[in-house]
């Protein structure tokens, strides 16, 4: 199964070690199989770098099947690259032309500081989740599946929001570096489920306050997030969060 191959140049952001301030380095790669994933292309590049006793390019990855959300990078100006609804690990080299120069940068946002090369610190997202992205239940025996009824379309809505993998592409795509799509996906997912409704008023305030504290920007409803999100999370969730937030602040005693 001899597949097609292409020759490319990869222009990668290097930061840390030899490059204290950060700069682009361009590497030539020959005979790249088009069936390779984008991350496998980086594996090949890194093997070449290691054999030349150079530092490999640091990038994050874990599942390599589009569900963990770690493989963050901006490829030719788009978070997770040119393919709609696809993470970097699920992007293949057949999406690029022979002879292309591919520019790869880390996610850029004040609240996502670069750790090394393409790796950024996304613990600001963890802080938002810790502020309210949970439900308080005692674990025990598994419940009967039908003990808490939920309508099918409601559960589907909740599931759509729940598919957010917390990758941060929405922040990376946003000209304001706002974290609204991520936060609203979590707020929306939990507020829609019966188990999550219980704490929803406190949750929305707590998560929005934390989002502000982490220094993310504000939403101008540009909707670049929705366009670049690998899970195609809808900005309808942002409207839902705006509603939930107002209703909670104006209509409840809760404070986040």
């Amino acid at each position: 199964m001899a597949g097609k191959t292409i020759n490319i140049k990869v222009k990668v952001w290097r930061q840390g070690g030899k490059y204290p301030k950060g700069q682009f380095e361009t590497y030539d790669l020959k005979d790249v199989g088009t069936d390779m994933s984008f991350l496998e292309m980086f594996d090949v590049l890194n093997e070449q770098l290691v054999s030349k006793k150079e530092m490999p390019v640091a990038f994050e990855h874990d599942c390599r099947e589009g569900i963990c959300g770690t493989c963050s990078m901006v490829i030719d100006g788009q978070p997770h690259g040119p393919m709609k609804g696809t993470t970097t690990c699920q992007l293949h080299m057949r999406s690029f032309k022979d002879g292309a120069t591919i520019t790869v940068e880390p996610f850029r946002a004040k609240s996502f500081p670069v750790i090394r090369d393409l790796v950024v610190d996304r613990s600001s997202f963890d802080a938002i989740i810790q502020a309210g992205g949970y439900i308080s239940v005692n674990t025990g025996q598994a419940q009967d599946a039908n003990a808490i009824p939920i309508e099918k379309d409601t559960s589907e809505k909740a599931f759509d929001a729940a598919t957010c993998i917390g990758c941060g592409a929405c922040v990376a795509a946003c000209p304001n570096s706002a974290a609204m799509l991520f936060t609203s996906a979590k707020v929306s997912h939990l507020a829609t489920m019966p188990q999550g409704k219980v704490e929803s008023q406190k949750r929305v305030q707590a998560m929005v306050n934390q989002m502000d504290k982490e220094g993310f920007g504000m939403c101008s409803n540009i909707k670049a997030c929705e366009a670049e999100c690998p899970k195609e999370i809808s900005t309808d969730n942002i409207a839902l969060m705006n509603r939930e937030y107002l209703a909670s602040v104006l209509g409840s005693d809760k404070e986040g």
Binding site: V74, E105, P175, N209, M218, A239
Partner: protein
């Protein structure tokens, strides 16, 4: 912190202020346009001058106008503060940035477009509002005259000839160009702003959002175009035909 202060200083609360003041301004523009279209009546300014007199003397309109000044300032200051905060939040720029599919140029440039409108407001208010309110009338040398009108019931009403001032301003090419550019700026601001205000309020549902979008697109083209029609027609010396006399209020 007090819940109210917390609401108004949170990111969502600050956008709520943008949305509510923006919608207020959208409503104001309709009223303002209605009054101004009387400038196009072919009556040497009678209907417009009497309307302008009523606007500057009616106490309810006076109170409303202070609200308007406050909301414009609040919208502009808050908008520029938000723009600045977002700039700080963004940090390092990308070397390559591709426009995300489905996003509009207007939505990416709201602060620039708002600033065009703000500069315009400065020129516009200086030219007419300031002249009307704070300069001495009559002043024959500066072209500010008073005209006595006989009303329908036979009484005489003396009004400032603001029409004459407008006529003079809109004979200057540069002023007409400033107005046209500003109305294009306003149109783009509202191309995004109209529907954005509803999303900010959380009013988004497939039942009515397409309708809001449509109204927003029509508004953002039609209203600035009608405003722009006034300086264009004045510059070309045109008025409504005699059979069309538009009375507002």
């Amino acid at each position: 912190m007090n819940w109210f202060v917390r609401l108004l200083t949170s990111s969502l609360g600050r956008k709520l202020i943008m949305s509510l003041t923006g919608l207020f301004l959208i409503t104001f523009l309709l009223v303002h346009l209605g009054g101004n279209l009387q400038l196009l009546n072919n009556d040497e300014g009678k209907s417009f001058n009497l309307y302008a007199k009523m606007m500057t003397t009616n106490p309810i309109i006076k109170i409303t106008s202070y609200g308007l000044y406050f909301f414009i300032l609040l919208h502009a200051v808050q908008g520029l503060l938000i723009w600045n905060k977002n700039r700080v939040a963004t940090g390092t720029k990308y070397a390559v940035k591709k426009k995300s599919p489905g996003t509009t140029w207007a939505s990416n440039n709201m602060a620039l477009l708002g600033t065009i409108v703000l500069v315009f407001l400065g020129i516009h208010m200086g030219d007419f509002w300031f002249a009307m309110k704070y300069q001495t009338w009559p002043d024959a040398e500066a072209g500010r005259e008073l005209i006595k009108y006989t009303l329908d019931d036979g009484t005489i009403s003396e009004a400032k000839n603001l029409y004459g001032k407008v006529n003079w301003s809109f004979s200057q090419a540069w002023i007409v160009i400033v107005y046209l550019v500003s109305m294009i700026g306003l149109g783009f601001h509202l191309w995004h702003g109209f529907e954005s205000a509803f999303q900010t309020l959380g009013l988004n549902h497939k039942k009515y959002t397409p309708f809001i979008r449509l109204v927003g697109k029509i508004y953002s083209v039609l209203i600035p175009a009608l405003f722009a029609l006034i300086p264009i027609m004045y510059f070309l010396g045109m008025r409504f035909p005699d059979w069309l006399v538009f009375h507002f209020i």
